[in-house]
Structures are given as C-alpha cells and as structure tokens.
C-alpha cells in the first residue's frame, strides 16, 4: 500500500517536472496568458539575457543578475549568513560555559 502510494507520488512529480520543463506540452509548459500580448518576446528574463553583457560587462549572466541587478538581495543573503554564523557561535559558547 505504502509502496503504491509512493510510486504514484513519484510518477506525479516526474510528470509535473516533464510538463513544466517542456514548453510544448500543455497544460504546464506554456501558459496561454504568456502567448497573449507578446509576453514571451518582452519578458524581463529575455531583456536581462540580451542586455546583461553590455550593461554590466560580465560574461556570466547569473553573476550580473546576482551582483548588479539584484545587489540588495545578495547583500541580504550575506547578512543572513553572517547572522547564522554569529548565532551558532553564540549558542555554543553559552552551552560551553554552562557545562
């Protein structure tokens, strides 16, 4: 019973992945709304893909998005990491003193 449920779940997730990745298989591939109004031709992603090497000078589009288009976001990520390290250090120092 559990195996059957697990198999069905895996198949469902696999089918979802396949349909999502493949743009020509409906219903998940290309949303009908995206075809209306030239959305596919004028999306933000396409604009960034075309402009990134010129506006940032970086050959890697991912790096230009991470550090130039969304620099605030990445600074926030670095802050989260800093806070995590501070929290771990603080927790283990308190535990050591108590023991």
């Amino acid at each position: 019973m559990r195996q059957a449920v697990a198999l069905i779940l895996v198949l469902a997730v696999g089918a979802l992945l396949v349909f999502t990745v493949n743009a020509y298989l409906l219903p998940f591939g290309t949303f009908p709304e995206r075809r209306i109004g030239g959305f596919e031709n004028e999306s933000v992603g396409k604009r960034i893909l075309e402009d990134a090497p010129i506006t940032t000078g970086s050959a890697s589009v991912v790096t230009s998005v991470v550090w130039d288009y969304r620099g605030y976001d990445t600074l926030g990520e670095a802050t989260i990491l800093f806070t995590a390290v501070c929290g771990v250090a603080m927790l283990f120092r308190v535990a050591r003193r108590r023991a």
Binding site: D68, Y72, V88, F92, A99
Partner: protein, 144 residues
C-alpha cells in the same frame, strides 16, 4: 579528535592545494563562468574541512585558526558593504557598478563584480569554517 589513518592523511595532504586552487578559481572567474563567490567559498571551506577530518582539529587550526576565520568573515562582510558604499561615494546609487568594465570575457572585467565575488567568497569560506570550529569546540569540551 585524533585524526585518521596514514592513507587518509597523505591523500588529503596531497589533495588540499588542488582543492584550494579550484575554489580560488571558481571565486576569481565568477564573472566569466558558472559559479561565483558563494560556490567557490564553499569549496574553499571544504578544502580546510577535509584537513580537519583527516588530521583532527589541531591540524586544521594549524592552517587557519578560529580567530583568523572570524576575522576573515568580518573582512569579507566589510568588503561587500564598502564596495556597495563606493557606489554612493563615486557614483549615484548604493551598489552601483562604479569600476571600469574592461573588455568582456577577461578576468579583469565587469567592474565591481569581481570584488563582490572575492568578498563573499572569503565570507562564505570563513563563515562555514567558523561554524565547524564552534561545533567542534563544544564537542571537545564534552570529551574532556
């Protein structure tokens, strides 16, 4: 923690410079190839953690001790914020790309992005190492 057998020690000692070089390559080439500061920093931290597993905590702290790791983490954060502030000082906006772009596809290109990648690489590597040291320190206290 006493460390592992002589085979593991030898292999990890031979492997350490190559791992470190690979991590540095990922950080430095962040604006050219897939990768960047976060990923390269994790590889750099993994190189030291390999030494830690093979030689014990003393072997790893002979290379990078806990104080150095904490200082390097703060230094990485300072580089990030300082380069962000350079945008307001030299240019118009916070996090503006103010350095000259250079020619596309070379290592010295893309303005401030290599500096950001360098800072976050140091920060991630030292941060992960600091977490490891903190956890191992409390474990060593319990064994005594």
């Amino acid at each position: 923690m006493a460390g592992m057998t002589v085979i593991v020690r030898t292999i990890s000692r031979l492997l350490f410079p190559f791992l470190f070089l690979f991590g540095a390559y990922i950080v430095v080439h962040g604006q050219l190839t897939p990768g960047g500061g976060f990923q390269g920093g994790v590889v750099l931290a993994a190189a030291v953690i390999l030494l830690l597993l093979a030689y014990g905590i003393e072997g790893a702290q002979a290379k990078v001790n806990a104080l150095q790791a904490e200082l390097a983490e703060s230094l990485g954060g300072l580089i990030l914020v300082w380069m962000g502030l350079m945008g307001t000082i030299v240019g118009i906006a916070f996090f503006q790309n103010v350095l000259p772009f250079g020619s596309l596809g070379h290592v010295l290109s893309a303005g401030s992005l290599p500096v950001f990648n360098f800072g976050v690489g140091i920060k991630v590597a030292a941060g992960l190492l600091t977490i490891f040291y903190a956890i191992l320190r409390i474990q060593g206290e319990e064994e005594k």
